[in-house]
């Protein structure tokens, strides 16, 4: 070719080559107009409330303006908005005093979770298929309203049912008013973290159907029967703070802590003495201690409501001598003697009961026995002992007793007439024994609406999903029932604007009530939940006796600023005890499902410190968090004693089948010295079929294989009463953070 052409070509090629690197794709995402006044890069801390467990701790949320990717009017784009970045405890909150547990920290992931339901959804395929399509709020609310109006016109208001976890505060009020005005039965509670057996025992023994609180900071001796009070039980952060003060707050006095359980929990690992009686005999052991105290007159004899519930108490508990208790429980008589003397010599002493001991068929007896022991020790209502959290005057006393238990309603066949079911914060399809057939029962209900933020096993059956905001995007109101000696109302404005096209459940319910009209609209006159909350705070303005009382507007601002209202000047309101039939209990040995010969092991599922009852399994931080004792992450395991494993010729990382009379499951084996020889334990919460990308198809769910046994005199599921057999079916691999419970693998072989 000619030189000129050659040069032209090379210049052009070279120039194009150089220029092509200059092109940068412009940021083509749409930018939406910010909806709030923001100062860039400056963070503020806003109060909020943790809603992940019944404790009800106060939060502080760090909010920083930033860019979020959102959909507005069907268009994907970015928007500058205040974004919650970090959660900490509220330093002034009387439950947690600025501390926060790992689960509370992980609550941040709910807001930004990729699997959140971002708009109302309508079922578009067969029920349970998981096919949904987005619809508008107008359409979906109209559909719910028309279904409810249909019920009313056919005089079938009682076939509307509402099921949720335990609700408290104004959210509870709102639901109660709505259902009552509509003519529907009271809400059903499904909450694996609730302790209805203990609350019933407390009602019988002390006249208060509430969870107890414990003044551990000033106690001299604490004996806990199965309660994981430093891990997951009741109000763990408050209890942990008090425990710290018990151990280190009084120089020279560490008190003594005894834990009684068959499987060493996170709490039990802190104990000075760890005792494993036979499963279900905790109540007998407590009465054995009481017998020694009575017989040797270590304390003045107690004769009160709590003690009169125990047969034989006034005769000195003749059937609970140390030798007889040794036969019942397996705990040596001498140990019982020694413990009783220790307790009486280190007053104030307090006994706690919770978790597995209450999940046996004789769970109520176990609780009543411990309550009686506490009265004998003189710990009820005294420093260093057991007490009940005062309730603020704005709250309806006895709010717990109006609900019915979901399981009782289901098992009595009373769900069969239901035409419309409203679901909120409850996953009964997941956390119940398969033999109860919850999925099949719910499937027969013609219309199911869920307010959930995620599609879990239960909301997968819904016909409509009306997604709630995440807690940080909501007005929150809560009244803690335990963990503090002050009357507390936690209240918080949303820490950030909603990311997605969701609506607060209370606001949705108010909208539905207004559109239905009639009684429902009259009972709920507020425009939105914020208005209702502001009205509810009015009686508290004068409650702590400050004279003159603060101006209403100033009061409302101050309450929001501090994250709630609390006062130690409120005397506990006397509760009206619901008259109970005269009940006198005696020791009945726990009943188990399955013959010992074929099913040699007691099966003990327990509330997981990472994912609780499974409601937090979708949070990757909690999946990633190693279990405190075993360091297992991202999965389930079956715990067994090393000697038992040896006898069965199975070892760690084996895939085992755990089989009861009602089902079977597969899980990797973890060998642990901290468990009784005849017990096999599993954490709850994994084994989801549907709960987002981090939880689905992971691990196994121990609830599915449970036997349908009930705690006598209550309707509750006795989830500790199942016997199982264990056999190896293959190999698995546990994801251990640090090698597990043995320092060196060779130790595992030696045991």
């Amino acid at each position: 070719m000619e030189r000129r052409d050659f040069l032209k070509v090379s210049v052009l090629t070279g120039a194009t080559a150089a220029l092509s690197g200059c092109e940068k794709p412009a940021h083509t995402l749409v930018r939406f107009i910010p909806e709030e006044d923001l100062i860039p890069s400056v963070a503020t801390w806003k109060p909020s409330v943790c809603t992940l467990c019944p404790a009800g701790c106060g939060l502080m949320v760090r909010v920083l303006p930033g860019e979020a990717e959102v959909v507005r009017n069907g268009k994907l784009g970015t928007i500058q908005m205040g974004l919650a970045k970090k959660l900490e405890g509220n330093p002034n909150h009387p439950v947690n005093w600025g501390k926060l547990c790992a689960r509370g920290q992980a609550g941040l992931q709910i807001t930004y979770h990729p699997d959140r339901v971002r708009s109302p959804l309508k079922r578009s395929g067969p029920r349970g298929s998981g096919s949904f399509q987005p619809v508008t709020w107008e359409e979906s609310i109209r559909e719910v309203v028309s279904k409810l109006q249909e019920l009313q016109s056919q005089n079938q208001s009682e076939s509307l049912r509402f099921v949720s976890a335990c609700l408290r505060g104004q959210r509870h009020e709102l639901v109660r008013k709505f259902l009552s005005a509509f003519g529907a039965p009271a809400a059903m509670v499904f909450d694996p973290l609730d302790e209805p057996v203990l609350r019933q025992a407390n009602l019988l023994s002390f006249g208060q159907a509430d969870m107890p609180s414990f003044d551990l900071a000033h106690t001299g001796y604490v004996i806990s029967f199965g309660a994981d009070f430093l891990g997951t039980w009741n109000s763990p952060v408050a209890q942990s703070i008090a425990y710290g003060e018990m151990r280190q707050g009084r120089p020279g006095n560490r008190a003594k802590f005894v834990q009684v359980e068959q499987r060493m929990s996170q709490t039990g690992a802190n104990a000075d003495e760890w005792i494993a009686p036979r499963a279900g005999t905790e109540g007998a052991m407590a009465l054995g201690l009481a017998h020694v105290i009575l017989k040797e007159k270590l304390r003045p004899a107690a004769d009160n409501k709590a003690t009169r519930l125990i047969a034989g108490w006034s005769q000195g508990l003749a059937e609970y001598s140390p030798e007889q208790v040794e036969r019942k429980t397996g705990v040596p008589a001498q140990r019982i003697q020694r413990l009783a003397h220790e307790m009486a010599a280190h007053l104030p002493a307090v006994a706690i009961i919770g978790g597995l001991p209450l999940a046996h068929t004789n769970g109520l007896f176990n609780a009543l026995a411990v309550n009686a022991l506490n009265t004998l020790l003189g710990s009820v209502g005294m420093p260093g002992g057991l007490f009940f959290t005062p309730q603020p005057p704005s709250e309806n006393a006895g709010s717990w007793s109006s609900e019915s238990d979901f399981a009782s309603v289901l098992l009595a066949g009373k769900l069969d007439g239901t035409k419309v079911l409203l679901l909120h914060n409850a996953n009964p399809v997941f956390a119940t024994p398969a033999v109860w057939k919850v999925r099949e029962t719910l499937d027969r209900i013609p219309f199911i609406v869920s307010f959930g933020s995620f599609v879990d096993e239960t909301s997968q059956l819904a016909d409509l999903i009306l997604p709630d905001h995440s807690p940080l995007e909501s007005w929150l109101h809560d009244v803690p029932k335990s963990g503090t000696n002050q009357a507390v109302v936690s209240l918080a404005a949303p820490a950030m604007l909603p990311l997605h096209d969701t609506r607060a459940m209370p606001d949705t319910l108010l909208e539905i009530a207004h559109q239905i009209g009639g009684e429902a609209a009259k009972a709920l006159p507020w425009e939105n939940f914020q208005e209702m909350l502001q009205a509810s705070m009015a009686p508290l303005r004068t409650a702590d006796g400050i004279n003159p009382p603060p101006d209403p507007e100033k009061f409302w601002s101050k309450v929001q600023e501090q994250g709630g209202w609390w006062s130690d000047k409120v005397r506990q309101a006397a509760r009206s005890a619901i008259p109970q039939k005269q009940l006198v209990t005696e020791f009945a040995p726990p009943q188990f499902d399955g013959e010992e010969s074929s099913f040699p092991f007691h099966f003990q599922p327990y509330v997981s410190q990472a994912v609780l009852d499974g409601s937090l399994a979708h949070l990757p931080w909690m999946q990633e968090m190693p279990d405190a004792l075993s360091t297992v992450m991202w999965g389930t395991w079956v715990e067994i004693n090393p000697k038992t494993a040896q006898k069965l010729a199975i070892e760690q990382d084996d895939l085992v089948e755990v089989r009861s009379q009602h089902g079977k499951l597969l899980a990797p084996l973890l060998v642990s010295p901290g468990i009784a020889f005849d017990v096999v334990a599993m954490p709850m919460g994994q084994g989801h079929e549907s709960f987002g990308r981090y939880a689905s198809g992971r691990g196994a769910n121990p609830m599915t294989i449970l036997a349908p046994m009930q705690v006598a005199e209550t309707g509750s599921l006795a989830w500790a009463s199942t016997r199982v057999q264990v056999s190896k079916v293959g190999k698995a691999k546990l994801a251990l953070f640090s090698g597990g419970l043995f320092e060196r693998p060779s130790e595992l072989q030696q045991r």
Binding site: G14, A17, G21, H27, R31, I33, I39, S41, L76, Q80
Partner: protein
């Protein structure tokens, strides 16, 4: 003659090879695309091409193309202070680019007939914010966190770093903000020159 052509073609091939070397996407090319925050991609300070790394090394940044022909000069002539729009400059690290609400506070009433203001109103009515392109900033690999507030409190005038904004239409980098520039002032005013003051 032939040898000349051969020589030139060798040079040409050499040039082509060198330029394609520079333009060859690096292994991180796919991950350094501007994606949403929901993206699963891992953040990396690596560059899409070697030419990009070279540009950063010599401190070359292209002038961004702004969606609207905003003129600073006009606004300053109308006695609008810097902090009226760039709020936050004395409170925190970032001066901030105002959102469209700030513009509309005045431009709902003023200069409504100008073509650029009509464009502005059009963007506002469609519910969108203006996609201003960033002018100032440091490359991520410099690990610099500049904080405006202490500089404002020390009475450093905006023009010291941002140039004679009074005469600018669109904002441009009139001052070469390299580390030497920062250090010379820090030394003159006897303020901390410890590494961790800015690099953390």
């Amino acid at each position: 003659m032939r040898s000349r052509i051969r020589g030139l073609s060798l040079i040409f091939v050499g040039l082509a090879a060198v330029s394609s070397f520079f333009l060859w996407p690096t292994s991180s090319a796919n991950s350094v695309k501007r994606r949403g925050i929901d993206s699963q991609d891992v953040f990396t300070p690596a560059h899409p091409t070697i030419l990009d790394s070279l540009r950063e090394f010599i401190g070359w940044r292209e002038t961004p193309v702004q969606p609207l022909a905003f003129t600073h000069r006009k606004h300053i002539e109308n006695q609008i202070a810097c902090t009226a729009c760039h709020k936050g400059v004395n409170q925190g690290p970032s001066a901030g680019i105002p959102d469209i609400n700030v513009c509309m506070r005045c431009h709902t009433f003023f200069a409504k007939d100008r073509p650029e203001i009509k464009k502005l109103a059009g963007i506002f009515d469609s519910g969108q914010d203006i996609t201003w392109q960033r002018v100032y900033g440091f490359s991520p690999s410099a690990h610099v966190k500049f904080n405006h507030a202490p500089h404002i409190h020390a009475s450093v005038d905006c023009s010291v770093c941002h140039g004679d904004v009074k005469s600018m239409t669109v904002a441009v980098r009139a001052v070469n903000l390299n580390m030497g520039f920062c250090l010379s002032c820090h030394r003159a005013k006897q303020v901390s020159t410890d590494c961790v003051t800015c690099h953390f």
